[in-house]
Amino acid sequence: MTAVREIEFRDALREAMSEEMRRDKRVFLLGEEVAQYNGAYKVSRGMLDEFGPRRIIDTPISESGFAGLAIGAAMMGLKPVVEFMSWSFSLVAADPILNNAPKMLYMSGGQFGCPVVFRGNDGAGGQLGSTHSWCVEGLYSNVPGVKIAIPSNPYDAKGLLKSSIRGDDPVFFLESERMLGNKGHVPEEEYVIPFGQAKVLREGTDCTVASWGRPVHFCMDAAEELAKQGISCEVIDLRTVRPLDIGTVVRSVRKTSTCVVVDQSWSFGSPGSELASQVHRHCFDDLDNYVHRVHTADVPTPYATNLEQDYLPNARRIAEAIRSATYNL
């Protein structure tokens, strides 16, 4: 038996991009510090050496400009991958990424698609303060016309990024700086993961816990802890929020009759509120309790370690929500 290969999240991302760039010359990477600096977070380390400066392109700090440039290039049929050092910086590129990329196909009556992937770090947890800790899925999942992937582990990151690059539609790919060093199994063999397919990470009978991205790990911690108290959780990693695999969640809730949704974006008008709403609708007669939701606190992200940890949808808050949803308080 061969040893299971484990690589870091950042390496999985790089493998996905490099493999797709070898496969398709239309694919190129651009962003701040992606080339000579080898990536602000070393995701693109070594890619300049392999692909050269025409395909691994350092840009100035000019998100609106290079996001728009990528969209124009995508309209002509290229397949740009744009790295935002942080999704927090994407806010200054709101017009191109929200007003152009997702709407181009529709406004042109099917003439011009926009096969561009925007990717970068999303979310709090690194004491970066409020301006650098955005969870943009809360804002961006509101917009039709984009696909949004929020992987929680290296395996999913690679497979989803490859299918993002191969696809014909714009994708927002949300990574986490807190997870880039996480190791996980990624096979040598090529694979892709389709969008809209949730994964059941842990089977259980008492409560469905649905999440995506980094909080999935907090959900697993909470489930582990609660198992010792006799509460059996079924943890589902949605992996993509657009498309949202509501079917997998509904099937689980029909079994468990309770549901907790964990979302690291703010609660008001979020993917979490959307998921909870859909579960209420589809499982109205199956639920023993209302769908509980755990989000980041409804405040700007604090800097102090203790406050930031309390702010996040951490394992303690998730466990409390599960106990409440299952009447185990």
Partner: protein, 395 residues
């Protein structure tokens, strides 16, 4: 500043009004430098300008009749810019523009029926009635929109030229000879996106030509009230290491000659360019603009220098046009536009299934994918595609 050519031929004297609107009038006083342009080309451009003019007059009428909704910005007065610029580049060169886009669509070769039907919100429109007046797209004619947000198209324009270069050089290993034309209004000069795009174009050697259709006003704000160095916009280009030119946009022959030389230079050097194209819109910013911010006297000065009238006078002087042939041309244009309105009236509204098409290329959930419009030989309404009820598709 580099002034390539200028042509006082048949043009009224430069006045204080010109100086007031543009800040300087050097471009109107420079001696003409121009190659001979064949009469057949001049006739074609005259007809193109007449077509745009008549089309826009009909648009205004249709807007009053409520056949056209939303915002509608007509191109009357600026016809020489779109016609001269598109004539000066090759069909393979991509073009992108802002929301005053009907003129560019027609000059690029879009059948006016599809342009008008788009504004009528009909399935025969270039975007099946989903884009509207501000969003004209034409894949077959390399027109990449029609963009509604001021300045939004400027990074896109850089991306189009970047893609030309990438495809021809990185993928095919040859040498790119295409340039992209990116039109913008003078109001877009003050958007951040424009400056980011200029910096990127200068930095990356991107052969995009930014044509500023400087009509003196961003909506109701005179250029000097909102823009620094309004009398010398080319200094902005200099700041990005980009060659800047001032061109008289009321003279289609001059526009063609200047733009041809500018485009040739961009092809040769693979560098961007910036053009301060001095023009004037005869009508309001949009249909609801009473034009209280400028005087009748000012409008009269510019309307006396109508770009169509100027070419008409020049061609009659050279013997390339007679009163009779001009009248016949006007008649044929009127008939074409009348027919185009009738065609658009007859085109059906998009079927309800069109609500959900063209959101994604790859079908998923309630979204059945996308099709090409009739203009591109597509079959709208996706016959045979199962229309999925959004509410029931979630499971």
């Amino acid at each position: 500043m580099t002034s390539l050519s200028n042509a006082p031929t048949g043009q009224p004297a430069v006045t204080d009004v010109h100086a007031k609107v543009y800040g300087d009038v050097d471009h109107l006083q420079a001696p003409p430098v121009r190659a001979e342009i064949p009469a057949a080309k001049q006739l074609a451009w005259l007809r193109d300008m007449l077509l745009i003019r008549e089309f826009e007059v009909r648009c205004m009428q249709a807007y009053q009749e409520k056949k056209i909704g939303g915002f509608c910005h007509v191109y009357i007065g600026q016809e020489a810019v779109a016609v001269g610029c598109t004539a000066a580049v090759r069909h393979e060169d991509p073009i992108v523009t802002a929301y005053r886009d009907h003129g560019h669509a027609l000059a690029r070769g879009m059948d006016p029926r599809h342009c008008m039907a788009e504004m009528f919100g009909r399935i025969g429109g270039c975007a099946k009635g989903k884009g509207g007046s501000m969003h004209m797209f034409d894949r077959a004619n390399n027109l990449y929109g029609g963009h509604g947000i001021v300045g939004a198209q400027t990074p896109l324009g850089a991306g189009l030229a970047f893609a030309c270069k990438y495809m021809d050089e990185v993928i095919d290993g040859g040498r790119n000879t295409r340039v992209a034309l990116c039109f913008l209004g003078d109001g877009a000069l003050n958007q951040g996106a424009f400056h980011e795009a200029m910096n990127l174009a200068g930095l990356f050697d991107i052969p995009v030509i930014y044509v500023v259709e400087n009509n003196g006003y961003s909506m109701g704000t005179a250029i000097a009230r909102g823009t620094t160095m309004a009398h010398s916009l080319v200094t902005k280009a200099a700041g990005y290491g980009i060659d800047g030119y001032v061109v008289d946009g009321m003279d289609v022959l001059g526009v063609y000659a200047d733009m041809k030389r500018i485009a040739d230079k961009c092809r040769e050097t693979s560098r961007p360019a910036f053009v301060d194209m001095r023009t004037y819109r005869f009508k309001g910013h949009s249909m609801s603009d009473p034009r209280k911010y400028r005087t009748k006297e000012e409008e009269d000065v510019f309307e006396a220098d109508d770009p169509i009238g100027r070419l008409e006078r020049q061609m009659k002087a050279s013997g390339a046009l007679t009163d009779e042939s001009f009248k016949a041309m006007q008649k044929s244009v009127r008939e074409q536009v009348r027919e185009c309105v009738a065609w658009s009236d007859a085109s059906p509204v998009p079927g309800p299934e069109e609500l959900l098409t063209d959101v994604f290329v790859e079908p998923w959930g309630p979204y059945p994918g996308s099709t090409q419009p009739e203009m591109n030989g597509g079959t709208p309404n996706m016959p045979g595609t199962k229309t999925i009820d959004v509410k029931e598709d979630l499971l």
